[in-house]
């Protein structure tokens, strides 16, 4: 009897990219819910605009590059990019800006480098950075969270007010008494951060992401924050405030963990994550932007090849490098 042949191994786990991406999207659900509860249904519109734009750009770019778009559209990675961007931009951002940001993410962030697997930068953060640099005003107008019971429609976030307040030589007590501040971090963002933490822990539990990057991001931010807060509590907010304001948790678990643009060895990922946390904290503390996650991620994306170069793990039977 004759048989067909194939190369070993003849069995695979079958946990494919689309299934990974589905899990990531599932883990983002709590963030979406918190977002809608706090900031209203604007997110739903952004989600629709971003995903449709992303799918169109992806299909277009793939066709122009001479690929069959179907398997790539099904893999879900472009959806994750679109959803992350939609969650990062203010819910009331004009639709054409969302389109612009998504197009920048998919085309400039991903396809000019060769598409899935070849992008040196996190595509969602490329889109976000393009919008933030080009439209800083629109990008910093967040609706006041409904639970804060404040009468303005949009206002500055706690990270913004911290910067302004410190600039005006207000005391920490005065700053934290402002309505944008919640019990731990930003009045609204603290809940979004908590939701992202839950989703992130789910991803850790399902072994979709490994602990190195998220833990390092959080430590990279918490340690300098704690240190400076202890040294000078009047000029620096504490670690808990930083961890639960801005995009910290979303960044730690969902953005920094994009494997394509991250460092790839365990040690490399610890350094990479630490760098993101620390750079974000530095930007928040001394830089020109209230939140620094996006720029921190992009900067560390740049460093990833270097980290990979110097963090090759010891191979079995080899001496220490």
């Amino acid at each position: 009897m004759q048989f067909d042949v194939s190369t070993a191994p003849h069995v695979i786990a079958g946990f494919t990219v689309p299934r990974v991406m589905t899990q990531v999207l599932l883990a983002l659900a709590p963030v979406g819910v918190a977002h809608v509860v706090l900031y209203g249904p604007g997110l739903l519109r952004q989600l629709a605009v971003c995903t449709i734009t992303a799918l169109i750009c992806e299909a277009l770019a793939l066709r122009m590059r001479g690929h069959d778009p179907k398997p790539f559209l099904r893999d879900g990675s472009v959806l994750v990019t679109a959803v992350l961007l939609a969650l990062s931009v203010p819910p009331l951002l004009p639709w054409w800006l969302a389109v612009l940001g998504t197009a920048a993410a998919v085309l400039l962030g991903k396809h000019v480098y060769g598409g899935l697997g070849y992008n040196p930068f996190n595509p969602a953060m490329v889109g976000y950075a393009v919008l933030l640099v080009s439209f800083p005003l629109e990008m910093s107008r967040w609706p006041v969270p409904t639970i804060a019971e404040w009468d303005a429609i949009t206002g500055a976030t706690a990270l913004d007010q911290l910067r302004t307040g410190l600039g005006q030589r207000l005391t920490m007590q005065e700053i934290f008494a402002q309505p944008a501040f919640g019990a731990v971090g930003d009045a609204g963002a603290q809940w979004v951060n908590a939701a992202a933490l839950i989703g992130g822990l789910y991803l850790l539990g399902r072994k979709i992401v490994r602990w190195h990057i998220p833990a390092a991001v959080l430590a990279g931010m918490a340690v300098p924050a704690m240190f400076m807060h202890t040294l000078d509590p009047g000029a620096h907010a504490g670690a808990a405030f930083h961890l639960f304001s801005g995009a910290t948790m979303l960044g730690a678990f969902f953005i920094a963990t994009d494997p394509v643009s991250a460092a790839t060895s365990d040690r490399g990922r610890l350094l990479y994550g630490t760098g993101i946390g620390a750079v974000a904290w530095i930007i928040r503390t001394w830089g020109g932007y209230p939140d620094g996650i996006a720029f921190a991620v992009l900067l560390m994306n740049l460093a990833a090849p270097l980290l990979d170069r110097y963090t090759v793990p010891r191979i079995h039977g080899h001496p220490k490098r």
């Binding site: 009897m1 042949v5 070993a8 191994p9 003849h10 990974v20 899935l116 697997g117 490994r210 793990p313």
Partner: protein
Amino acid sequence: MITAGLRLDSHKALAMQRPLQLAAAPAAAVVSLDQGGGTTASPAVHPGMRVRIGTAISRRGDATTATLHSPVAGIVRDIGLRDIPTPSGRGLCIVIENDGSDARDVPLAPVSWESLSAADLIDGIREAGIVGLGGAAFPTSLKLLAAREHSVEHLVLNGAECEPWISCDDALMRERAGDVVLGAQVMMHASGARRATIAVEDDKPEAIAALQTALTAVSDDRIALLALPALYPAGAERQLLAAVTGREVPYDKLPPAIGLVCQNVGTAAAVASWVRTGQPCMSRIVTVTGSGVNRPANLEARIGTPLSVLVAECGGYCGQPRRLIAGGSMTGRALTSDAMPLSKAMNCVLVAAGTDLVPRGREMPCIRCGDCATACPAGLLPQQLHRAALSDDAELFERHGLADCIECGCCDYVCPSQIPLTSRFRAARGRAKARREEMQRAADARQRFEQRERRLAAQAEAERRAFDEARRRARGAGAPSDGTDAI
């Protein structure tokens, strides 16, 4: 301790539901001169010659080739190229027609191994045709010789049997634990090792219990039994030795360099069977399993039995067999035909049907998730090796340890992009080897050329000198000139 690796569905219970069976002798045995160890023996018989069970049918070659023995009594019908289950796919085979008499070549007698010198014992093991029955078919005598030279201290018997589907060692340890222990004692004598450890994965409690009983019976306190966590590939030699001893074999050395020697439990039992009865190695236990076979079981079958006969022994094919695999699902070789013969290297015949195997889907780009690196038991970064493979970058290959890949297939198994990493790496190693050989050839050619140039120059020089000399002499001997040279 092994930290990387995979927990896989073992599928071992399928063949273990039946006791070890003795397979009937085939009507014709096809004994390949390459039993899977990569070296080819030269035949010592010719067509038409009558042989008996145990007749040596290959010449006593150099130390790298163990002797082959006829597994049946009958007439040599043919020596020619046939399909064989090795990477090359074809090789010289001796076909012996079985006359059914089962006549023996010489009366068998036990070997008094304790009174033999180590060198004679190792020689006897080679003459008995014993090779690594774990799947490498590497001559056992060679390993023991190297062990002897390095005066190793510790013999590790590999009973991990980590690969899915394969249960021949499990069956052996359950039913012939005494032979495993005796084999350990003989090989300690041959190698000079002062202690031995029999390492078994902890998903084989019956085997462990049987070995425990056998060890108690001989009360040899030099031999220890160790249960390892069942984590594929715990049975890979370097990984096993690290798990047992806590020491890693340096990448550029073999285990004897750090005082260790590793043998498969099946090999130990073959040695034991030889010293007990004097019978050379011409049969082995093979697992015949998979959803594509009616009655999966472990068979003790003669080397050279066509696989179709083994399958028939197990009730024949059923369902829609899709693949015939020599070995397990992770590292086994898919065979084209069941006419191929059983070799000493073949521990399992997997007749895969239905959902036994999970074929790869469409390959997608690597997303550098690093799941492969987490799974890799050699501590490699397969995602980086893959990048090197895309550009065939020799320097990147070296930095990321292409040569240290043990081809266990763990990276393929976990890869969410379904990239055939292991076969890419295997191909890259082939290319690297070809490149090295090419460079060696170029260097040799240059050396030859330079030598030739030097030789020709020297020759020309010598001729010129001889010419000058002759001319000088001719002038000296000829009519005296006016004393001054024309020039």
